[in-house]
């Protein structure tokens, strides 16, 4: 504390500080009005720089920051939406595959049914045609047989009358004719 003694001896620390401050102020030209003027001047400069120089650019930076934040949020939203869309598309595709498979199966089944029906129908028609053909053949056969019988009967009667040399009666002709028909039928 000895270093404070000279200060205390000449009237106290505060007075010495004041004296020292006054001397310094005089040397460096500091006075209340000049100081006040500079404070006012600098305050005006700071205010004008804030209003005219920083604010526009700070607004731009703030807007850009907001846009970037919005862009990131939108990108995130789009990412979620894309994932949802992909899931939905996958779901739709799966459903479509299932539906398509079902349709194919149904088509196959119905085609099988149609094919079976057609086959049955064709078989029936074929059988019908065969039956008709058989019937027609039978009729034709019977017709031919009847004609054959008649012709054979006539030939037998004619041959018999020529061999025997006599004219056959109606009864003989009938009897010979019936016998020839039996023989032909056998």
């Amino acid at each position: 504390m000895t270093f404070l003694l000279p200060l205390a001896a000449e009237g106290g620390i505060i007075e010495n500080l004041q004296k020292s401050a006054q001397e310094t102020a005089e040397v460096f030209g500091v006075n209340a009005w000049a100081l006040f003027s500079q404070i006012i001047s600098f305050s005006i400069v700071a205010f004008l720089l804030h209003k005219l120089a920083y604010k526009p650019i700070l607004n731009v930076l703030e807007e850009r920051r907001k846009k970037i934040a919005e862009g990131l949020a939108n990108a995130e939203k789009i990412k979620v939406q894309l994932a949802e869309s992909e899931a939905r598309v996958q779901e739709i595709l799966t459903k479509a595959n299932v539906d398509a498979q079902r349709l194919i199966d149904e088509a196959r089944a119905s085609a099988q049914v149609v094919a079976d029906r057609r086959t049955q129908q064709a078989i029936a028609e074929a059988e019908q045609i065969i039956a008709k053909a058989r019937e027609a053949t039978g009729i034709e056969r019977e017709k031919i047989m009847a004609e054959l019988k008649r012709e054979v009967g006539r030939l037998v009667i004619d041959t018999t009358s020529r061999v025997t040399g006599k004219v056959l009666t109606q009864a003989d002709q009938k009897r010979i004719n019936e016998e020839a028909s039996r023989e032909v039928a056998a």
Binding site: V27, F28, G29, V30, N31, W33, A34, L35, F36, S37, Q38, I39, I40, S41, F42, S43, V45, A46, L48, L49, H50, L52, A53, Y54, P56, I57, L58, V60, L61
Partner: protein, 305 residues
Amino acid sequence: MLGISSFATVAVRAAEAAPKTAEVASAQQAAPETEKAEEEHHGLPQNAPVLGGKYLQVTSSMVWTWIIALGIIIFARYATRQIKEVPEGAQNFWEWLVESLRDFLESIIGRELVKKTFWFFATLFIFILFANWAGLIPGVGTIGWGIPDAQGGLHHISKPLFRGVNADLNMTLGMSLLFFVLWIIWAFQANGFGGMIMHIFGPKGEMKSFWGKAGMVVIFAIVGVLELISIAFRPVSLSFRLYGNIFAGENILESMSNIVPGLSWLIPVPFYFMELLVGIAQALVFMLLTAVFTMLICQHEEDHH
């Protein structure tokens, strides 16, 4: 006599051509200034000459302040006249400067405090930086009024029209005091009256015993008094540091110009580069110190952890 003295090597003999008003002014100041001329022949005057005004005084440094501020504002308006999404040219530079400064301050004092205080700290840095650099422009400190020698030559300007802004203690002290007032406002806003008292005098740390706690209270009360003294002297240290560096720089430049009369165009060149560095370093130091002082008082105890 009104004239130009470029570091006392390019003296303009303009006694006949000088305006009458300047002659009258010189005549009025002749007696005291003749005495001063001897001692002031080398080096700049320590105080900024008052150009006019009785109460709200206009000094040569203040004129230069307005010119620099006007220059910054005009450039900023030009840069932001047609704002584009993708910046280019002047807008790009201005955006880079402001954004870098904001991000830098945010990393030190936090986003919330930057929102409130950016206007002031940005002004401090940008204005001090450009003021320091603008003080190196030839003509600042060398255009003005002086006392001619017997042959009518003007070798020294005793009343410069422009003076380096921060080579005026009124300016640096003004900025420091304005910061001091704002610091008090921001500190009370952040802490309240009780919070401020606790912040300065409150004991930090935990003690279990009664005597331990009592001892802590006494110690931190004494520390608080020292803290108050330290706070009170901040404007002084801030203002003298800036003023001292810039004023000394200008004196060095003048001395280097006078050291070899024929080489006054060459010898100061390295010192110009040094002053460019000093200019940016001092702007940064002033802004950082004020920002850190603000952060220290506005930061709450839990923020430290």
